[in-house]
């Protein structure tokens, strides 16, 4: 009895964290190639709104997701164009787009709030769903979850095991060397920034097309920033990033489970958990503090633990390429 309850909790955590996984993988692509798209919080809001409106008007979920992907890619294009072509600060452009996306989603979506719209349905996979434990967790879900899981596996293989992935990483680590070896760094940066933006857009729509009452103002506010922090926690790896997103989902889930059990603790305290987690996690991966943690571990564990805790960004992250 307890076992089936646990499986239910795990599968609902996976369902809840799938959109975040997609956003994290998208931004991982973008940052791996050396560009920071800081606009996530705004572009997710705008694409969540656009995806819902497109799906609502056309009654087609596919058009909803495509519309959202286009919005996300367009925001990414502005970041890419501004930083690659015009050599402006990526952080500045990303930040302005964050605020703009928020305001635009509120304005453009004002006539579509609290409307029941199309929803992504559950799509169990025959045979596979009957495997004990694994079946109900992974194969009795909806398309968003399948897409997120496949995306994680594929992007890990693409970034770390494929030939084009090597060029992708080289453009983010040593763009001048990559350029000298004949990699078209600029084109590469455009491509992956737009790809990452499109994925962020899909993530936004995954929130607004996942529940019956699709769009409300500020639907995903804050989640874009969480995704950006998880990319760092994930050490710019899709698999670790996905684990981070699921852990975050689990922490939020735990809060909603605990809340009725401890009515004397203010609701506010539970809402603070994600942000406190964000600080703690970033301190652990970002500072000497991780070394102290490693020292506490038994000798044999120290090396793998250090590898797990220490992360380092792509070396040329956020810098511009001088091809002259």
């Amino acid at each position: 009895m307890f076992e089936s309850e646990l499986i239910g909790v795990i599968s609902s955590i996976l369902l809840l964290s799938s959109p975040l996984i997609i956003a994290v993988v998208g931004e991982t692509f973008t940052e791996r190639v050396g560009v920071v798209n800081l606009s996530l919080d705004g572009s997710m809001l705008l694409s969540a709104m656009a995806g819902f409106v497109a799906a609502y008007e056309t009654n087609s979920l596919i058009l909803g997701f495509l519309g959202a992907a286009a919005v996300g890619a367009f925001f990414a294009l502005i970041v890419a164009f501004g930083s690659i072509q015009l050599r402006q600060s990526q952080v500045a452009i990303g930040f302005v787009l964050t605020l703009l996306g928020d305001d635009l989603s509120a304005f453009l979506g004002q006539n579509y709030t609290r409307l029941p719209g199309p929803v992504v349905q559950k799509l169990p996979i025959p045979i596979l769903k009957d495997i004990p434990i694994i079946g109900p967790i992974f194969f009795d879900q909806n398309v968003i979850v399948y897409f997120a899981l496949l995306l994680v596996a594929f992007s890990w293989w693409w970034i770390f095991r494929s030939r084009p992935g090597l060029s992708l990483r080289s453009a983010g680590e040593r763009p001048d060397a990559a350029f000298a070896r004949g990699v078209n760094v600029k084109r590469m940066r455009y491509f992956y920034t737009l790809l990452g933006g499109a994925l962020v857009g899909i993530a936004g729509a995954s929130y607004s097309l996942n529940v019956k009452i699709g769009w409300i103002e500020g639907l995903t506010r804050g989640l874009g920033w969480i995704a950006l922090a998880i990319v760092i926690f994930g050490g710019w790896s899709p698999v670790r990033g996905a684990i981070g997103a699921v852990l975050f989902g689990a922490a939020k889930n735990l809060a909603t489970v605990l809340q009725p059990t401890f009515p004397q603790v203010s609701v506010v305290a539970f809402n603070a958990i994600p942000w406190i987690l964000m600080i703690i996690v970033l301190v652990i991966v970002g500072s000497e503090f991780s070394e102290r943690l490693v020292a506490l571990a038994p000798k044999g564990m120290q090396r793998p633990l250090r590898r797990f805790l220490r992360v380092s960004p792509p070396m040329a992250l956020g810098t511009e390429l001088d091809e002259r």
Binding site: V96, D102, L104, Q110, N271, I279
Partner: protein, 350 residues
Amino acid sequence: MRAPQWVLRVWPFVPIIGALLFTTLLLVLFGASPLESFGAIIEGAFGTQSKVLSVVAFWIPLFLASTGLLLTFKAGLWNIGIEGQIILGSIGASWVALNLEAPSAVLITLEIMAAMAGGALWALLVGLLKTRGGVHEIFGGLALNNLAILLTLFLISGPWQPPEGGSFRGTPPFQDAALLPRFAESRFSPLSLLLTVVAFTLVAIALRNTFWGLKLKALGRNARSAFLLGVSSEREALFAMMFCGALAGLGGAVRVLSWFDSLRQSISGNIGYLALLVVMLSLFRLFWVPLISFFFSAVLIGSITLQLRTQLHSSLGGILTGVLVLFVLLFGDSKRLGLFSDGGDADVRE
């Protein structure tokens, strides 16, 4: 092709026209008359004396926060946490207003000191997370902003809730002696304007004429070589953050003591994020900051009238200012676009 002189002269207006065209397009899309809508914004900002005073009252904390950001930007820091620093200022002032009793002058002095301390403390946390914890100030600041909002919610629904019971609306109104003296029946307090002008002057002098300003500049340009030249990067960065936080906190005090009369749910009104836009739009030129922040204040206060009159969402004001900043960032500098080779590039190469 060399750019003709007149092109260079009108170029700065291109982003402004672009932003106006974009918002006009949105208005047409929603079936509103652009002329009527912009008219409503202008009337909402300058139509009556009380509206002008509202614009001024909203402008003061925005101006204060922007002034503080001049310091952190100069030191090369992205102080997104300023939103939380304003909120902590509001909380600090509210704590004094709700708990102490004293003659008005003493009370207000204490409130302002508590507000500045609150803002500086929150900024110090962001700074320490960066220098000691390796957390980029954008992420540290953002997390602390959200925690500040939650702290406000906790206070107004818990320890500081009104006697008739907790709601998430706000604390009971403060005693009269705790509030800043206001002009006529408005939300504008002349004292806060005086303090703001003093703060701006001090910052302007610090940045232009002091060794500290020079050190901040060195830090902002190249943190590593500044360190090698003997500038303690940690100390200067923390000082810049705390100074900025104190000014933001003062802005927070103005929000609770003259814009409102109590601590409310969304006390900062996004002023911190707006201030970041103001300073970015000013391209870090000191004397544009008061003008731009006043313009922003007018647009945002005017948008409230727009919403009342046309039922359109008041976020249009935010869109107008946001698009303006984006266009200035992207297209403001004609040289970067590479449309014309106006000889400027040659200097850079040498």
